[in-house]
Symmetry: C2
Subunit: 372 residues, 2 copies
């Protein structure tokens, strides 16, 4: 999706995203309060509508309430190191796995990132895939219910299903949905079929229709629109999806970007690096302390506040208090940054330990998909 | 390639093929007498220039004479039962394997035939793949030097290499080479990369450049033009190729066709079916016996003669004698047809025994490609 103000595709996000408009453009539904109430626990990403849009989530909840098993599918395109923006939807998947006791298929698209990035070799993306997997594992998923898989290592299972999907998608469709041109390479053109496969995988493996829920960032919706269009003619359910907003960059941009390292907090950043990045963060502060004490700051445009809102202050009461104190000029940027630095470094210390431990457990998670 | 008179693409052959023109259109080289003389034995398909065109065959023979190992790659698109037209290039591959003591990689493109045929399921093409493989095995290939493989069963090896190729091919290229349009499905668009892979497979498996020779029918050249264009930038040799003419149909058409069963002799046809088909064959006979005795027949337009020429009379002296006797009005169509019926049925009796025996040996030939 592209207009003059912003652009959101699976491969490029730029400009100031209007999430309301995106809902219209993509044709997804906004999360309603009544839907959110149907979740056994109110995760903060639901309460705050960080996961703010969906397709057919009511179907998944209906099936769950009837006692039908569903499964989760999400993934990662391994184009660089993992940053906080990547972790958010994975953390939400972990909450869903714990809450509903469901299986998760986690696709690492080493083929995609190779095909869409001129500079990355397949060896690069495969190496990044294994590194990124450590971050997934570190979040504490249940090894008995989680399969992390690389596309190129599971092509025996994925490719035969991908061509069944591909046979139903024309080049015209990919032009319209992804903006491809005659100069697009034929691997990239085919790729969306590979991203569709996990939405049908459990149905294929179990030879019966199994509902699938895809919780991920909103920029991936174009793929799943295509997936949904072909689903029923192949005898599968349309996958449902839940979409989150994108964690803004530290420099006031709309999405963290691996190509702009100072705008992102990577999971492997050390304490000093985190401090330096947050100290340099774009805030909603006034031009001077005096000015700020007088008129207050603007947390609505502040990256520090965004980080607290999106993840680091999950207590609504505390967050609102900080918001008010900022508005009133009581909480200055320096103090607020110190709070965030402390929270980020505590989180990363634990996460980095988890990454180290994950190295010993990697084969429990990164698996060949088993044909049952 | 398409002009007003004929069309030759990997998926459609129609009209009266002008093989001289095809050489120009495709930009291949005709087989020269000096090249043919470099073969240790003069196979009748070389002498008669049934294998009449090539790319870089001199490179393969140079390498062979220097003591460098090369390998053969050919294949089959499993869209129906095997007929005599399919067997011809395989028989030639067997001669090359025996003569040069080289490995053969035989690709069965169950993905291709599924993607390009609206009516075939992947289950259909996979079943046909195993049936067609019996015909390959029945020809007597060396099991120690032959790997027959299905694309969908070897995607773990093929897909990662196919995307390296695909990254270098744009949709524009496939439009120009194959005539694809915006309505072509994205699996078909990607497919040519899968057909390129075996040309580089041994180089990839052995981590060094191994020359590859592709002996097949001329209609497959468009794929290998693309393969050759990307080869060097991926660090491989361009594959060489040898192209044969297409065995004409029994009804005077230019190619045997599985969709017109009466125009083809299938390897599983029984004696009575063969007799019936050959009795009904289009010949170069005159309107009456009297007329033919007086003015002779025309073997140049005769399907019975074509069958003798392409395979069933490999003795040049005997073939020339039949040609002259036809021209002079001495050999009538009925007698000539009886000769062909006898030869075809003797060949098929042996071949069908070979097919039965092949069922016990199939796992010696149809293998997973081993990553060394």
């Amino acid at each position: 999706m592209e207009n003059e103000k912003f652009k959101v595709t699976p491969w490029e996000v730029s400009g100031k995203i209007d999430y309301k408009k995106l809902v219209e453009y993509f044709g997804v539904d906004e999360m309603s309060d009544s839907l959110i109430k149907r979740f056994p626990q109110q995760h903060f990403m639901l309460r705050r509508k960080i996961f703010y849009a969906h397709r057919d989530l009511d179907f998944i909840l209906d099936e769950h309430e009837k006692g039908t098993k569903f499964y989760l599918y999400t993934g990662r395109g391994p184009s660089g190191k993992t940053h906080m923006g990547h972790l958010l939807p994975w953390i939400f998947n972990k909450y869903l796995q714990d809450t509903f006791k469901v299986e998760l298929y986690f696709q690492i698209t080493d083929d995609e990132k190779f095909l869409f990035n001129e500079k990355l070799t397949l060896e690069d993306t495969k190496k990044l895939a294994y590194d990124n997997a450590l971050d997934v594992i570190a979040l504490g998923f249940d090894p008995g219910k989680t399969t992390i898989f690389l596309d190129t290592e599971n092509a025996n299972v994925l490719y035969p299903l991908a061509i069944k999907i591909a046979k139903k998608i024309t080049f015209s469709t990919t032009k319209a949905v992804f903006g491809f041109t005659n100069s697009t390479n034929i691997g990239s053109i085919f790729y969306t079929s590979m991203q569709s496969v996990p939405a049908f995988l459990l149905s294929e493996l179990e030879s019966r229709r199994v509902p699938c829920l895809i919780p991920c960032a909103i920029d991936q919706d174009p793929h799943f629109r295509v997936t949904r269009d072909v689903a029923e003619s192949l005898g599968y359910y349309k996958p449902a999806s839940m979409y989150c907003k994108l964690l803004p960059g530290l420099l006031g941009n709309e999405k963290m970007s691996s190509s702009q390292p100072e705008s992102s907090i990577f999971t492997t950043d050390d304490e000093a690096t985190v401090r330096k990045k947050i100290v340099n963060t774009f805030t909603g502060g006034a031009v001077s302390i005096k000015e700020q004490r007088l008129h207050g700051g603007n947390p609505d445009i502040c990256s520090v506040h965004s980080y607290l809102y999106f993840f680091f202050e999950q207590d609504d009461k505390k967050l609102n208090e900080m918001y008010s104190r900022c508005r009133s000029g009581d909480l200055l940027c320096g103090e607020c940054k110190e709070i965030l630095i402390g929270k980020v470094n505590r989180f990363l210390k634990k996460h980095q330990k988890g990454r180290e431990k994950a190295k010993d457990n990697i084969t429990k998670f990164v698996k060949k998909i088993e044909v049952k």
